[in-house]
Symmetry: C2
Subunit: 143 residues, 2 copies
DNA sequence: CTTGAAATTGATAACCCGTCTCAAAAAGAA
DNA sequence: TTCTTTTTGAGACGGGTTATCAATTTCAAG
């Protein structure tokens, strides 16, 4: 069934280290989660309603938060909702956004990424991913 | 009273362009807002309770959102709360966010800022502000 | 294969932040 | 001042997430 052997291992490892148990629901949710780049708890609830009509929303939330703790997911807050991002699909695209016309330019900068790692290490963090947005005026909008 | 002449001008300009009115509350909230680097609506509510016990929380929210539209503030969603950042504050700091427990560590890094400027210049942009968030696990959640 | 302690689940109540409602008050142009 | 329009304040409301708790499941020990 599961092609997500590596991630399943990470999960089991985390469970073992925290006296948590491997359950049918956790396996089901992880399999569904890993097929997406990002998803909300509500979306997953609807997706899994077919496979397991009795799976509760609370369990989805608890499990997605568990994935965050295990380092498999990353929660991002957008307005009222929370997106759970699949860490293994990390595409590092940063953005330059023009506040005048809304133009968006993508860029990548290794030096910045290296410095980010440095900052994280200095603070005892292990980076999973990041978000960098530069807001300003593009040449046209600057006049 | 107000040392925030420039920002007050920006606000009045925005109000004028949108048939909105200049009120005692908006002036009060802007003055308080500009003294901080960032603040939540709730915090401001408590801060201003002394000066004006009848100032409503809804008014704070409405006004802070107005500041965002006027370009004086920037809303940021952290966990359950919304932080309103003071755009004019230049010692603008960034955030390390733990995806496990939600802990937030603020940091500042001049080298990163310099590289951001470089990227912007290379693309013809003039940066007004930015948002940099590093997501990962703090030492405690990594274990 | 049991047994039993400990963890998990599901349903829903509770919670919290932020927005909406609406009558009363204030702003501001005439 | 007068009148229209906008804003305010208080509380109700709403959506997303977490807490509660009895019933169920896991899993290690026997």
């Amino acid at each position: 069934m599961s092609k997500h052997v590596k991630e399943m291992g990470v999960l089991k490892d985390h469970l073992g280290k925290h006296q948590l148990k491997f359950t049918r629901q956790r396996e089901l949710i992880l399999d569904a989660f890993l097929k997406q780049e990002h998803i909300t708890a509500e979306e997953m609830y609807h997706q899994l309603a077919r496979k397991d009509p009795h799976l509760g929303l609370a369990t989805i939330y608890r499990t997605l938060n568990l994935f965050c703790e295990a380092g498999l997911a990353q929660a991002r807050h957008f307005g009222t909702q929370t997106q759970y991002d699949n860490i293994s699909h990390k595409g590092h695209h940063d953005h330059l956004i023009c506040t005048g016309c809304g133009k968006i330019v993508e860029f990548e900068n290794c030096d910045i990424e290296r410095l980010q790692e440095e900052v994280a290490t200095r603070n005892g963090f292990t980076i999973q991913t990041h978000r960098l947005e530069l807001y300003g005026l593009c040449s046209r909008c600057r006049h």
